[in-house]
Subunit: 321 residues, 2 copies
């Protein structure tokens, strides 16, 4: 049994990563999007990292996986009482990581070091790694101008129509040594692109200088899981963005986004009719249940994904012989 690298962000990505974690424990490395990070009140918010940490540590709220269980808002109410901003809403528990992160950064620690410290403290055996220690920011291009994804989400409520994306800093960002190490691990068996918004979660990671080339060159199966089921996004704004970008709102479009990068694509059972259409892109495909309602669902899907990667590898090796 080899090691696994997952590329992830958001709640859906964290759920599949959690399934992989329960199967592979310390043999899992999760590379997480940090292009939606933002500063607020001097604190360093890294929503996809924190969602991943809470999920893998088993302390994520079941209804709102991006925050810890039992969240309260005493500090936020006091901030409002003192005349401070009433948006975004700050959870007491959710503020701890951004507070410690800002303090760590001010003391010259890297996002990677800070995140690995959090993993250790939370007892997470896997490695959760920021995609880069350099700042990358996704800018949403709209008819009303370019805004950071955080502002698009928190201030504009994802309202303005999306015309495109820019990944500021991606070309100059360095892949951290820890990420390189995970991708060059001798027994790496699969790279899994978890279900998440392709535009502001997965693509920022792929836009980092050298990342796509590295994944192609590495030669282990790269398998992506669809965030689109039956022509709709399970969560978030992916569906709206695809429409506004003129993409067909289907899982096949997502596979198209990862063309020439992925070897396999996992559709939801509901989209079984799309199997041939995805395969026509030169991508292997399977259709399995992808909605993760329980922890068991996460494990079952993770196992399907790893089995699929193994099948791809075996088939390839057979072809070479």
């Amino acid at each position: 049994m080899g090691s696994v690298v997952a590329l992830a962000g958001q709640v859906g990505g964290a759920k599949l990563a959690d399934g992989l974690y329960r199967l592979r424990r310390e043999a899992l490395t999760v590379i997480v999007n940090t292009a939606d990070d933002y500063e607020h009140l001097g604190l360093a918010f890294s929503p996809d990292i924190d969602t991943m940490l809470y999920t893998l540590a088993g302390i994520a709220a079941s209804g709102a996986g991006w925050e810890p269980q039992g969240e309260s808002h005493a500090l936020h109410h006091m901030v409002k009482t003192l005349g401070g901003p009433d948006r975004p809403v700050l959870g007491d528990r959710s503020l701890a990581a951004p507070l410690l992160r800002a303090d760590g950064l001010a003391n010259d620690r890297t996002p990677t070091q800070i995140t690995l410290d959090f993993c250790r403290a939370l007892g997470i055996a896997a490695r959760v790694l920021p995609m880069s220690d350099d700042p990358v920011r996704t800018h949403v291009l709209t008819d009303e101008g370019a805004v950071t994804f955080h502002d698009y989400f928190a201030q504009l409520g994802c309202e303005p129509a999306v015309r495109g994306f820019q990944y500021a800093g991606a070309a100059a960002a360095r892949i951290p040594d820890e990420v390189m190490e995970a991708l060059y691990a001798p027994h790496l068996e699969a790279v899994v692109i978890c279900p998440a918004n392709p535009y502001h979660v997965i693509r920022p990671m792929l836009e980092i200088e050298g990342m796509k080339a590295l994944l192609r060159r590495r030669g282990v199966p790269v398998v992506a899981v669809t965030p689109i089921i039956g022509g709709r996004a399970l969560k978030g704004s992916a569906g709206k963005m695809m429409r506004e970008l003129g993409r067909e709102l289907s899982a096949r479009s997502i596979a198209g986004e990862y063309l020439r990068l992925i070897d396999g694509f996992v559709l939801d059972s509901e989209d079984e009719p799309l199997l041939e259409s995805v395969r026509s892109l030169g991508i292997e495909a399977i259709a399995v249940p992808t909605v993760m309602r329980s922890v068991d669902d996460r494990i079952v899907l993770a196992q399907e994904v790893l089995d699929f990667a193994t099948a791809i590898r075996i088939r390839r090796e057979a072809e070479v012989e």
Copy 2:
């Protein structure tokens, strides 16, 4: 009825300031010690200011007047879960002001502007003013070296014997315009030095360049209220400090600390026998109940203090004639 200026810090000082506030409302200005301020996790803690704000806003906890009512510690527990420091203990509500203050300072607002914003938001009609917008830090000189008061209190538990104090930055600190304005108000009737540790609360304010001279020159009665009753400090480390500094542990010693500055000194009824001894220092003195258990106690003491100041002024005017 004129205006009143109080010099204050700590819970006892805030209680008397609250009594004065209930009598004088917007005609009260409270100048508050900021020499015990400290930074922690990048936040700007100003304990005496926040104690004063909570007290005047009527939201201070009754048992722990330095924090808001109904304090909780969700964020602190999460900080510990993430491997962060477990001391000092951070209250969810108590963190709001240090968070907003740090953000304000980072955005080039002054401590005075930030504090006045808090007053407005909290509906406090009086003006709560930091003693200076420049950093002043009380250093406690001990046999083991010099430490900030915050470290002496929070890290050393006030253990090491005190040999003296230094007020770093005081000589270079500027008295804010708002403080000058309050002290030069045409109908100023009294300056009240509230009961508080003379060494790390009151003296830092008096050590600011020009402050003592200004109070003397101003010519309105300056009245201090004892923090020592019956040879012991009601709260905090004043008693221990006095012993270690070789001072007699009595209210008279406190009066001595303010020699050539105050016109009147308020002893506790319990210390009535000391009246003559204080008067022998050339300071007028009265003995009244000074322990403030209820809000009524605060108002009664505040009224005694203001009446005492009035009596001093009338006597003085009579002497001039």
